[in-house]
């Protein structure tokens, strides 16, 4: 409830004069940033689920390398989800839920098609080549088709124009185009499962020369990447222009919500780091299609045969170009997550973020430094101690802004009157989970300790702590937090809590044992989970534990899916446009915001983003647009 004295009551959205451009222009080829944001969000969530499904299959192979896979169980899960969303969609008369149900049915079909194919699963045991291609596609789908589109395309698109007080993105048509280019890239990636030799199987990093001589799926992968990179470029230009040009009157840079800052820096990272990967993809495509040898050294021997190419290329060049993108990409994954967590924490502690300016400066510095740390992924390539020392030093330096951000967020809790809402639970869990992910990164950043840990499960555990219970928890926090703005209804807190606690326990059940196995020296990307190695025997029992945790994690996502689709139509209706009593501009719009966002014109801003618990107010918060 908002008192009229402090917040102008938003104009009811029943009487605004909107053109109705019809179904296709409203929901499919929409240029409204909110619809595009939802398109990104749904597509990203579906890809996240697909990437997860691939991993569920792989986890059977890791836990029971010699037992036939009970394929029907892996079909049951997506089929059940398909049924749930379709039924809820039919009951609620929501076409989108029915459509999503159809996509889940497609995933179930894909799984069924694979596990029942004797050439892929002879005697029910996954082929090593298939394991490799699942691994490569799991990484690719999760990073490029799942998390980044969710965090940047989804939340960025929906929330940033609202938070800066803009009627839309600066280039609405370009915005639509970037979604559809992303969509085409996703479809291209999916088709690679059906080409001869299957999908790309050289890891998500596509290291040369292995990737050069890989099956046709690699060519499809590279083509898909060119689409995804183009989509990111269009999107990032749009974000930067929107934030610089379309800020509302009075909204100076130091009054921007931290989420907008995080998207701003992320957009710069995407803009400047992705083109080198595009260049690398072009070079690798030339190698594969035109017979050049950019990444093929002279005298390369494959299966006892000297490869018939001109040679002279450098396999290491690929790694430099790849990691020049892929390290900033790590911060692309984590910065929007930090932004969401900052919003949720400020709102639920009812006090301003501690050290807002330090947060902003730390994030800017983090973005800058992320361009000069890439070779810490390459300590083991023999590039020399001088270069290793340089990159080790910059890597230690970049940990400082990360620590500043995390510390500021933790101190923000101090003295707050915390509301343990579902988004807040996810945001709170983000802090220690990201903390574990960050701290376990330090031994990898030192070139000496990296000798032992490089390419072990420790690395997998480390970055999954950052991205899975880190970023994905933040994304869940964002979904629960902004859901009432998008739909006008709350998600069920009870189901949300089941989802949260289940996910928290299972995530740790999956990823903590990886650190243990890695310290024991178990290598990543092993088809049998290390069963054939003597040094792995002492930690082998963890494989089953991790697999069961992963499958349980899949099960506890079901309450989330039910909650999500059920609440769209049947959730508790919000009583005001600002149910969380938040200060930032997106809550000062009608619910859901109409085309053009702000009924009655763009607001003027008078305050910083987090005016909570301010003295002299009748309420404990002052929205940014209240004088």
């Amino acid at each position: 409830m908002q008192p009229v004295a402090t917040a102008p009551p938003p104009v009811e959205s029943t009487h605004h004069h909107e053109e109705h451009p019809g179904f296709w222009r409203t929901y499919v080829f929409s240029i409204d940033h909110k619809v595009i944001g939802i398109q990104y969000l749904m597509t990203g969530l579906l890809f996240l689920f697909l990437g997860f499904t691939l991993m569920l299959l792989m986890r059977w192979q890791l836990a029971y390398p010699t037992k036939a896979i009970p394929g029907e169980w892996f079909v049951v899960l997506p089929a059940a989800v398909a049924l749930i969303s379709a039924v809820i969609g039919l009951v609620n008369k929501r076409k989108l839920a029915v459509l999503v149900g159809g996509v889940f049915a497609g995933i179930a079909g894909l799984v069924w098609y694979m596990v029942s194919d004797e050439t892929l699963f002879p005697q029910g045991i996954m082929l090593p080549e298939l394991y490799n291609s699942f691994g490569a596609m799991h990484g690719t789908i999760m990073v490029f088709l799942g998390v980044v589109p969710l965090a940047v395309g989804g939340f960025g698109n929906y929330v940033v124009p609202l938070q800066v007080g803009a009627p839309d993105m600066a280039f609405p048509k370009l915005n639509m185009m970037s979604y559809w280019v992303y969509f085409v890239g996703g479809v291209v990636m999916l088709t690679s499962f059906f080409v001869p030799g299957g999908a790309a199987n050289s890891g998500w990093t596509s290291y040369t020369p292995l990737a050069n001589i890989a099956t046709m799926g690699q060519t499809v992968w590279l083509t898909g990447m060119v689409f995804l990179i183009t989509s990111s470029l269009l999107g990032s230009v749009n974000f930067i222009v929107t934030i610089v040009q379309l800020r509302a009157k009075g909204l100076s840079f130091m009054r921007l919500p931290f989420f907008v800052w995080s998207q701003f820096i992320t957009a710069f990272l995407l803009l400047l780091a992705f083109p080198p990967l595009e260049a690398a993809a072009v070079l690798q495509l030339m190698d594969r299609l035109a017979g050049t040898s950019f990444f093929l050294p002279s005298g390369l021997v494959i299966s006892g045969q000297v490869l018939d190419v001109s040679g002279g290329g450098s396999p290491l060049l690929w790694q430099h170009l790849f990691w020049f993108l892929a390290h900033p990409e790590v911060y692309v994954l984590i910065l929007p997550a930090m932004g969401i967590v900052a919003e949720v924490i400020a709102n639920n502690t009812r006090r301003p973020l501690w050290g807002y300016k330090s947060l902003v400066y730390a994030a800017v510095f983090l973005g800058f430094m992320s361009f000069i740390v890439w070779a810490h992924h390459m300590f083991m390539t023999g590039m020399g101690t001088v270069i290793s020392t340089f990159f080790q030093t910059t890597t230690m330096i970049i940990s400082i802004p990360s620590v500043i951000i995390l510390t500021a967020l933790v101190i923000s809790l101090w003295g707050g009157s915390i509301r343990f809402t579902v988004p807040m639970l996810f945001a709170l869990a983000f802090l220690p989970m990201f903390g574990i992910g960050g701290l376990t990164g330090l031994p990898l950043g030192f070139s000496a300790t990296d000798i032992h840990l490089h390419d072990t499960y420790y690395v997998i555990g480390h970055f999954h702590y950052v991205v899975a219970p880190g970023t994905i928890f933040a994304l869940f926090a964002g979904i629960y937090y902004w859901f009432p703005k998008v739909t006008g209804r709350m998600m069920s807190p009870a189901l949300g809590k089941v989802h949260f606690w289940g996910s928290l326990v299972c995530m740790n059940g999956i990823f903590f044992p990886m650190l243990i196995q890695g310290l024991a020296g178990v290598s990543r990307r092993l088809y049998d989970g290390g069963a054939q190695y003597a040094h792995a025997q002492g930690v082998l029992q963890w494989n089953e534990f991790m697999s069961v945790s992963a499958w349980l994690l899949a099960v506890v996502q079901i309450p989330f899916i039910i909650n999500f689709f059920w609440s769209v139509k049947k959730g508790k209706r919000v009583e005001s446009d600002n149910p969380w009593e938040a200060t930032t501009l997106e809550w000062q719009t009608p619910t859901p915001p109409p085309h053009g966002n702000f009924a009655g014109g763009v607001p003027e801003v008078y305050h910083g983003p987090y005016e909570y618990s301010t003295p002299n107010g009748s309420k404990d918060y002052t929205p940014q647009n209240v004088a």
């Binding site: 470029l233 930067i240 083109p275 595009e278 050049t292 002279g312 085309h595």
Partner: protein, 196 residues
């Protein structure tokens, strides 16, 4: 619904949206070609021997192409300047010339490629030719992109002049910035591939 600053500049940034947008896009293009030039340097430094471009490639033709592209940049500026003084007929002439120069560049490039192909020289020949064909090919794609944009503004897109002259002038300025960038890339490519 109206997006602000599509035509007029925002007072505190001094830019209209598309001008900032194109500069950002060009920044990403710098990173794209920067990565390719860096790869070239790395490969060349690591190679035991590397041929001199002037011994293998047709320098006079490339020089001609340099002149053509620089000329097209001049006509591009003139077409924008014509719009600034509200002379639409002159704009059409200069823009037409720019497009012709673009085609001229591609035709000359086509002769160069054709000569190599007829001697059985393809990108797979060696690293030098691989670099040559990849870099000039990617640049050629950028020229084609520029021609498409310019041709649109010369033809159907120029109808905007009657309705929103200021916005149309901005569009030509932005298209011009891109075209100058394509020109600039060639100015780097020419010495790097043909002369060094």
């Amino acid at each position: 619904m109206q997006i602000p600053y599509t035509v007029a500049a925002r007072p505190d940034t001094g830019l209209h949206n598309s001008k900032l947008g194109i500069w950002l896009f060009l920044a990403s293009e710098v990173m794209l070609f920067g990565a390719l030039f860096s790869s070239y340097i790395l490969l060349r430094v690591a190679a035991p021997e590397w041929p001199h471009g002037s011994a293998l490639l047709n320098v006079p033709l490339a020089f001609l192409n340099t002149i053509i592209l620089i000329g097209s940049s001049v006509t591009m500026v003139m077409s924008w300047a014509s719009l600034m003084v509200k002379d639409f007929a002159k704009y059409k002439r200069y823009m037409g010339l720019t497009i012709l120069c673009g085609f001229g560049f591609l035709v000359v490039k086509g002769f160069e490629y054709g000569a190599k192909f007829s001697h059985g020289i393809f990108p797979s020949e060696d690293l030098f030719y691989a670099t040559y064909f990849t870099l000039t090919g990617l640049h050629g794609l950028h020229v084609i992109g520029g021609i498409i944009v310019n041709a649109y503004f010369w033809g159907p897109g120029s109808k905007m002049w009657a309705r929103e002259p200021e916005r149309f002038t901005n569009r030509i300025e932005v298209a011009g910035l891109y075209w100058h960038f394509v020109d600039l890339v060639w100015i780097f490519l020419f010495p790097v591939l043909y002369l060094l």
